[in-house]
């Protein structure tokens, strides 16, 4: 009996994973297909060549990279400061702010997109790079805060006390002890922000405007005209890039956790 239900359970999980990963696997496989249709006709890198020759795609990709780097850097700076303030200082309303941060990480992107758009219209900022940057910073900052707060809470308070006991000022204690110990989490927060910004469609869709096209929206408009294998190639590269970054973030958070 037990064995049978165990087998069933295994089978069930297997099916779920197949269901989740099959589309990705199919995309990756067909990005290397010689033919243009969903029938395997042999290995070829021509779709990759085609994609890299496409000026619009490359331009959008560079835009996205620039946006993601700027947004995640700003989000990391704001988020780190916020996490320190939320964990180190006690003040009225701290718990509300704390809860608010978690709420933001789970709030639907569509709500965030629409709200941001309304605000930009209200205060009359023309849609473009600036609005995208602001929106992505808003999107990423809560994730940085949450990542970092977890790490700060694990930090032994006596470490700061020990540094001060040995003659370090508050600033020196931060620079010499707190910051180095938080660095992996800060880096992880940056990487997480980067991937969030890189593949955001929904919020960007609302606040993009014209003139600064980013990769996810470029892909979106290409798909509307029908899926060509060069999109498979692009998706494969984005998938691999994202996986690498997320794994790197996980690795940074795991090491030194002991």
């Amino acid at each position: 009996m037990a064995r049978k239900s165990q087998t069933l359970g295994w089978l069930y999980s297997f099916m779920v994973y197949v269901f989740m990963y099959l589309p990705i696997v199919v995309v990756i496989i067909f990005s290397f297909n010689k033919g243009r249709f969903a029938i395997w006709t042999g290995f070829d890198l021509k779709w990759y060549k085609l994609m890299f020759a496409n000026k619009e795609i490359i331009n959008a990709a560079l835009n996205s990279l620039f946006l993601a780097v700027s947004a995640s850097t700003l989000a990391t700076i704001f988020g780190s400061i916020m996490a320190l303030v939320l964990t180190r200082y006690r003040f009225i309303g701290r718990r509300i702010l704390n809860g608010g941060v978690y709420l933001l990480t789970i709030s639907p992107d569509i709500v965030m997109g629409i709200s941001l758009l309304i605000i930009f219209i209200l205060i009359q900022i023309p849609l473009g790079f600036t609005t995208l940057l602001i929106s992505h910073v808003v999107l990423c900052t809560p994730f940085v805060v949450v990542t970092l707060m977890g790490r700060i809470q694990k930090l032994d308070e006596d470490l700061v006390a020990a540094a001060r006991d040995l003659g370090a000022s508050e600033v020196q204690a931060f620079v010499q002890v707190v910051f180095p110990l938080l660095l992996p989490a800060i880096a992880a927060g940056w990487l997480l922000s980067f991937t969030l910004s890189m593949d955001d469609v929904l919020i960007s869709f609302f606040v993009q405007g014209s003139g600064f096209e980013i990769l996810p929206l470029r892909i979106y408009s290409m798909v509307k005209l029908g899926v060509k294998p060069d999109i498979n190639a692009l998706s494969t590269i984005m998938f691999v890039g994202t996986v690498i970054l997320v794994l790197a973030a996980q690795f940074l958070l795991k090491t030194r956790r002991n």
Partner: protein, 371 residues
């Protein structure tokens, strides 16, 4: 102005909100002594250390270090160092950098730092592990790094907050000796915190027994053990037997070194008891006796006055034997005798009748405040 005392706490009180952690504490610590704060968890030991190191400010009273008032001096400006309970070693620095941290903060030249750190590491026996990270060390080794990191700064006073609580029994005993030797060798004043009375007695020049934010008694280990000044100290430090009694009359002492002697009724028998304290006829008293102060004989050999009772059980503890006795009054006592293979006398069996007396003059007599 050189004061005999390196640290003076004068009339210190400390409140956290409405919780009172310390109520009017006065404590003077001599230069070069090994002093231990002993007391149950929550009695305010750590708070005293944090007042000295500067992580807390007193709610009332003054803290003096080296004769100077330091109430408003931040921790980094005080010439004291701490060994933290969980060591608090910097996990991202190797042993060398951990130990060098304080000297770097003092902006000491690099070559001098290297020399001092290596010298310190060899004192604690870690010169070969200078490149290791704290995570790669055993508990005992981490402990040594924590001590080296503090001591290398040559502080006026070293504060140690339950430094052995994470170590197993054997290592603990070993580190106790090691720390004691280190203190002798360096001549630095150590303020040591523990809730383990055996540890306190074994290591200290003086012991400060604390309870609920107050100091109950300050004295040498021998004084604390043999002359407890109240019931709390008596019962917290070591095993003790408490007999109930009443003063009948004052008599002249037959012992040269005790001030007063009394005839007293103790557990229904009439004894003469000795004390430095003054009592009146009719005072209810507690007579305190350590297990090793009790004398046992077979009942028919007993010479009056004695307390009659029977053996409950005997527990062999290697060098000594603990003997549990129930008096005919119902009171249970513990006696301890040195174990001697040739001596059949202490080979008591449960149920055997015995006469209990004690070594004359070794009793501690306190007024029974509950009576």
């Amino acid at each position: 102005m050189e004061s005999e005392y390196i640290i003076e706490l004068k009339n210190i009180s400390k409140y956290f909100g409405t919780t009172c952690a310390l109520k009017t504490v006065d404590l003077s610590i001599r230069n070069g002594e090994f002093i231990t704060l002993l007391g149950p968890s929550g009695c305010g030991k750590t708070t005293i250390l944090r007042l000295i190191s500067g992580f807390e400010q007193p709610s009332g009273g003054n803290v003096h270090i080296g004769g100077e008032l330091v109430n408003n001096v931040p921790p980094e400006k005080r010439h004291v160092n701490t060994v933290f309970q969980n060591y608090a070693l910097f996990p991202h620095m190797n042993v060398f950098d951990n130990v060098a941290f304080g000297l770097k903060m003092q902006k000491m030249p690099k070559s001098e730092i290297k020399e001092k750190v290596m010298q310190m590491l060899s004192i604690v026996g870690l010169q070969d592990l200078a490149g290791r990270k704290p995570g790669e060390l055993s508990g005992g080794q981490q402990q040594r790094v924590a001590i080296a990191r503090a001591v290398v700064n040559n502080p006026l006073v070293l504060l140690l907050d339950e430094p052995f609580s994470a170590l197993d029994f054997k290592l603990r005993k070993h580190m106790q000796l090691e720390i004691k030797h280190l203190q002798r060798r360096l001549g630095i004043t150590f303020v040591f915190v523990t809730h383990d009375q055996e540890e306190a007695l074994a290591m200290s020049d003086r012991v400060v027994v604390m309870n609920q934010g107050s100091i109950e008694q300050i004295g040498s280990p021998v004084e604390i053990y043999e002359e407890p000044s109240n019931m709390f100290v008596a019962q917290f430090v070591g095993d003790i037997n408490v007999l109930k009694g009443e003063i009948l009359e004052t008599i002249t002492s037959d012992l040269p070194d005790s001030n007063h002697a009394y005839r007293a009724e103790v557990e229904g028998q009439i004894f003469s008891v000795h004390s430095d304290r003054k009592f009146e006829k009719g005072d209810k008293i507690n007579i305190l006796l350590r297990p090793e102060d009790l004398k046992l004989e077979e009942e028919h050999l007993g010479q009056s006055p004695f307390l009659a009772g029977e053996i409950i059980e005997t527990v062999y503890k290697g060098a000594t034997v603990d003997i549990a006795i129930r008096l005919d009054t119902g009171l249970e006592l513990i006696a301890a005798e040195f174990f001697n293979e040739d001596d059949e006398d202490i080979d008591y069996t449960p149920g055997e009748r015995v006469a209990v007396t004690w070594i004359n003059g070794w009793e501690v007599v306190l007024l029974d405040e509950d009576a």
